[in-house]
Symmetry: C2
Subunit: 128 residues, 2 copies
């Protein structure tokens, strides 16, 4: 797997990021790698897309977490939570496209921090 792009955001640190985009995350840019930018053709401002990211700062050797980091909530398996900690730290983000400019998409709201690799981009379906 290789990045198809990177997140450029005012959010710099995971500890400052909301847990989900709709919990107050900023808009951000996705800079798409030049060698795959042709794959963006047909994406237009206004539509909803799904970004799959690689949460590169997440722990990969953790199988149980307290949901939402709340130590008062019993431990749950990572696959039963949206914790970034998981064997393959993939992030899933449904966002709106706000602007399309050459190799870049402005999207939001997005809770992934600046520098996060993007590994796939898909149109959102109503069934997602």
């Amino acid at each position: 797997m290789k990045p198809v792009g990177f997140v450029r955001s005012s959010l710099k640190r995971p500890e400052d990021a909301p847990k989900q985009g709709e919990e107050g995350a900023p808009d951000a840019w996705v800079e798409v790698a030049a060698d795959v930018a042709l794959g963006l053709e047909g994406i237009a401002a206004g539509q909803e897309i799904v970004l799959i990211t690689w949460l590169h700062q997440a722990a990969r050797d953790v199988l149980k977490v307290h949901p939402r980091g709340d130590a008062t909530v019993p431990l749950a398996g990572v696959f039963a939570t949206r914790s970034p900690a998981r064997p393959n730290p993939l992030g899933l983000h449904r966002v709106r496209v706000l602007a399309v400019a050459a190799n870049e998409l402005k999207v939001g709201p997005l809770e992934a921090v600046d520098g996060t690799p993007v590994v796939d981009i898909k149109p959102a379906l109503s069934s997602d």
Copy 2:
């Protein structure tokens, strides 16, 4: 990235698979690897989850496709489609959990074929 499990399905060939689960796909099992099965704790029958798969038979060097394989529809960038062909052939499947048995989840409907690696499992959010 490493598989956290594999799809076990009566669907054996990509050419027999519907393009989306809700287009007539069968129910299937996800066999989760023993070393990460603890991560399933808290997943229960009846809930909706998102599977992220690695569509191992897909082309990775394609950036434009005819949406839904229909040659009468103009070419579009792969990131504007749900084609399995894309630089990182990740599949995204929202499915219902039908049964939980030790290291296995029965889910459906699922259009991924038998043997497809599963790379992540997440609870579905209303915002997905």
